[in-house]
């Protein structure tokens, strides 16, 4: 039973073999992909993406969406950077300030989307634009010259790991625990599947996604602060530019459905790793700039294909070991049952 079970796991996460294949390919092509320095580099660079992709994934699972994270990231970076440079702020005060800024954005998004009930797509596209303007207004010039206290945030080693990686791990573990170990985790899925049915089951259908908006905002701002600390500088106009698309891409490539109600954190972590390895490998191999773009685009299409294949492979893997078990997976043979937006 163990072999087919692990086969099913693999089928469920087709990114795993793909990532392995990429690693082998890049190693063969460059001879320097698999090496603790390069791998740690990928992990450190991907950490900020993971820190935001994880709460964003919970939000998508609950049927919502936050596009404003790119600007919240900038706002967090500006808040922390400003306090660190202008006021010689210490680590704690800078982080708290960034978190407060992120919570504020999250609260606005959450209020408008969950309490009032406006479209998350338009609202967070709006806050994406507006918050970027505010961040640039607050810090039109690049901020630099942070103290050593603040440098710790991005530069320290925690348990042998670079602090961004350690923080990302913490976020993954906490979110994973919430999602799988607590009742709220089930509520997140339930709301995403059917808000009405969840409401009639007594689930807090406003509070839970509201909290997820808060968490996403806070962690996006924290990610900005971490990156500011790593880089030792903040430029409000470009910090986190396009980050929202990177986050959404990681979440979707990781197998979370935009329609809500399905997805796993392991998938999202794999999605983040996939994007990080791709970017790293293409640079390592030395693919010309424009072809890198083409390759990245194609990789997304491939990832979409994997998301499509996964349930089918899983169904195939399921057929043998337990032919008669009830297991109505998504493996419909006709396209009509697929939701186009998922």
């Amino acid at each position: 039973m163990s072999a087919p079970a692990s086969l099913r796991q693999l089928a469920r996460y087709p990114l795993i073999p793909v990532i392995i294949a990429m690693a082998i390919g890049f190693e063969l092509a460059t001879g320097s992909f698999v090496g603790s320095q390069n791998l740690l580099g990928i992990a450190t660079d991907s950490a900020t993406l993971a820190i935001v992709a994880v709460p964003a994934a919970l939000l998508v699972i609950s049927g919502y969406l936050d596009l404003s994270v790119g600007s919240t990231y900038a706002l967090g970076a500006v808040a922390a950077g400003w306090f660190a440079s202008a006021h010689g702020g210490g680590l704690l005060s800078c982080v708290v300030l960034a978190l407060l800024a992120g919570l504020a954005v999250g609260a606005i998004n959450g209020f408008l989307c969950c309490v009032v009930g406006l479209s998350p797509f338009i609202v967070t596209l709006g806050t994406l634009t507006a918050v970027r303007g505010i961040a640039q207004q607050l810090a039109p010039l690049p901020l630099t010259g942070f103290g050593d206290g603040f440098a710790w945030l991005g530069g320290a080693k925690i348990a042998g790991l670079p602090s961004p990686v350690a923080i990302a791990l913490l976020v993954v573990v906490v979110a994973g625990a919430i999602l799988t170990l607590t009742p709220v985790g089930r509520h997140i899925y339930a709301i995403g599947v059917s808000r009405e049915a969840a409401y009639l089951s007594g689930v807090r259908v406003r509070t839970v996604p509201f909290a997820l908006f808060l968490g996403t905002g806070a962690l996006a701002a924290l990610a900005g602060a971490i990156k500011a600390s790593v880089l030792g500088a903040v430029q409000s106009g470009t910090a986190g530019l396009g980050f929202e698309l990177a986050v959404l891409t990681a979440v979707l490539v990781g197998g979370v459905s935009l329609a809500g109600g399905s997805g796993t954190l392991l998938g999202v972590v794999l999605g983040v790793a996939f994007l990080g390895i791709l970017q790293n490998g293409l640079t390592l191999v030395g693919v010309p700039t424009f072809w890198q773009q083409v390759a990245q685009g194609l990789a997304l299409v491939v990832a979409a294909g994997l998301a499509y294949l996964a349930p089918r492979l899983e169904a195939l893997a399921a057929v043998r070991p337990q032919a008669s078990r009830v297991s109505a997976s998504a493996a419909e043979s006709r396209p009509a049952s697929r939701s186009a937006m998922s």
């Binding site: 089930r186 059917s194 009639l200 399921a318 109505a328 419909e332």
Partner: protein, 501 residues
């Protein structure tokens, strides 16, 4: 023109929904396709409608043999289907739905005038009250069902297949539908009719084919068959229901409602005592669903509701649940089920918080609770991890019942809206048994709405009859029978008194 299905096979993942089914439907006959929930009836019908390609077997229609049909081929071959889960597009108008995919057009432009006229004629023939311009999503279920039928008939079919067409209809509309079916039969159509309501089978059908677990169990003429024969063909005969719980007149009411008022509803006063099962009977649209939803806080309301002597304050499902009220909604797909989530999640979602310790779920306790619930309600299969969508309709309904009746949540008043909609004879019986048992053992007060007078009589201690948002009659004891109910909904209060005396 005959429809002949030979050796049809279809499996989903590991589930064999059809294992070589043969079925022949002759022109001019009404052929009942029967079977327990999950027997494969809808799968067979979907294969005929082109929803998917069968894994094996052939379909012969209009002299041609197909390995699989596309919906267009199916329509072109003259097969018209009324699917169990309606294939209507809610945001479009009635007329647009009737002609969807088969629009009348001239030079590529939709001929609205011709379509409206044709649709109006069809609707009139079916006794529908909606107009051709109504948005289908705004219509009550019964009217939607009639639009679906109009859509099928608009195609001038040679084979008409109806998958539980009356599940959401009231006696009035069922009568109109049965007359239409008869007229079509006389015109020589081959008609295949799926239902769990055996009364319909007796009234309408000439032959029956009974599926069991994806294979044909019997296929025979209905001449001389009794209801008992039919039930036995479908499933193991059910055991007897447990006796009714004694209701003590002296007990203070568990649910006391006074002056309940909302848009189009009320004022309503009612009381349900501990252990009492009260049926709410009425025509489609009479306001039963709205009443239950107001009681549960799903709709804004005025009036006083008290549970166990305590007034329920806020109007919200959470407040209602906290007070001990629970609702099993009528629209299972939209309001009840979390289709992709596991059976355990579906049954225990609200209970997980109660079972948890230090904010963490206790999986072992959850599993134990699920197993207990599944055993008590005879949920099949009893696998906690299978997604709810893999369960048959009856078992899905049991999962929803189990959401509130699981020994963990302190439910003292259970509101049920159409609790056996689309449920097979045996499962219906089991649901009755479960409801009776909780009323008897836990003294839960039960208020349920139903469109089926048979069901009211079988389950209720007392029936309240609803008309246009008000309670117009109360029947209990010997006065509670099907005829009285039918009279009550169609007639005014004084007529009823006359009839009863």
């Amino acid at each position: 023109m005959t429809l002949r299905v030979t050796g049809l096979r279809k499996s989903f993942g590991g589930v064999h929904a059809l294992r070589g089914v043969d079925l022949t439907i002759e022109p001019g006959e009404v052929h009942a396709l029967l079977g327990h929930n999950g027997a494969g009836k809808s799968t067979l019908i979907k294969a005929l409608g082109g929803a998917f390609t069968p894994d094996g077997g052939t379909i012969e229609v209009a002299g041609r043999t197909y390995d699989g049909l596309s919906p267009r081929q199916s329509i072109d071959a003259g097969i018209a289907i009324i699917f169990q889960h309606l294939s209507l597009v809610e945001s479009l108008s009635v007329v647009d739905n009737v002609f969807l995919g088969q629009e009348h057009h001239r030079l590529g432009v939709v001929d609205r005038k011709a379509q409206r006229a044709a649709a109006a004629t069809l609707l009139e023939r079916l006794g529908a009250t909606c107009t051709v311009d109504d948005r289908v999503g705004d219509l009550p279920m019964g009217q939607k069902q009639l639009v679906e039928i109009a859509k099928a008939l608009s195609r001038d079919p040679v084979v008409l297949i109806l998958d539980e067409p009356t599940a959401a209809l009231s006696s009035h509309e069922i009568g109109a539908l049965e007359r239409t079916v008869r007229a079509l039969q006389e015109q020589g159509l081959a008609i295949c009719y799926v239902t769990h309501l055996l009364g319909e089978v007796e009234r309408l059908a000439d032959r029956m084919t009974v599926l069991r677990d994806g294979a044909v169990h019997v296929s025979t003429s209905l001449l001389g068959k009794t209801r008992r024969d039919i039930i036995e063909a479908i499933a193991e005969p059910p055991t007897d229901l447990p006796p009714r719980a004694p209701v003590h007149e002296a007990d203070p009411p568990q649910l006391l409602v006074s002056g309940l008022t909302g848009p189009g509803i009320g004022p309503i006063d009612l009381a349900v005592r501990p252990g009492e099962i009260v049926g709410l009977y009425g025509l489609i649209g009479s306001g039963r669903t709205r009443t239950l939803e107001m009681l549960f806080g799903r709709r804004p309301r005025q009036g006083v509701i008290s549970v166990g002597g305590r007034t329920v304050g806020r109007s919200s499902p959470r407040a209602a649940l906290a007070a001990g009220l629970a609702l099993v909604p009528g629209d299972r797909a939209r309001q009840g089920l979390f289709a992709p989530l596991s059976a355990l999640d579906n049954a225990l979602l609200p209970a997980q918080g109660t079972l948890s310790r230090f904010g963490l779920r206790r999986r072992r306790a959850e599993r134990a609770a699920f197993e207990k619930m599944a055993a008590g309600l005879a949920v099949h299969p009893s696998t906690p991890d299978a997604p709810a969508r893999a369960f048959s309709g009856g078992n899905q309904q049991k999962l929803l019942l189990g959401r509130w009746v699981n020994g963990i949540l302190p439910t003292t008043v259970l509101l049920l809206d159409e609790p056996t909609q689309g449920v097979d004879v045996r499962a219906r019986h089991e649901i009755y048994r479960v409801v009776r048992t909780i009323a008897a053992e836990r003294r839960t007060a039960v208020l349920f709405a139903s469109t089926d007078p048979e069901e009211i009589v079988a389950l209720a201690d007392r029936a309240l009859v609803m008309q246009e948002g008000r309670l117009v009659a109360e029947l209990s004891g010997d006065a509670l029978d099907e005829d009285a109910l039918l009279h009550a909904v169609h007639q005014s209060e004084s007529d009823l008194q006359e009839y009863l005396s």
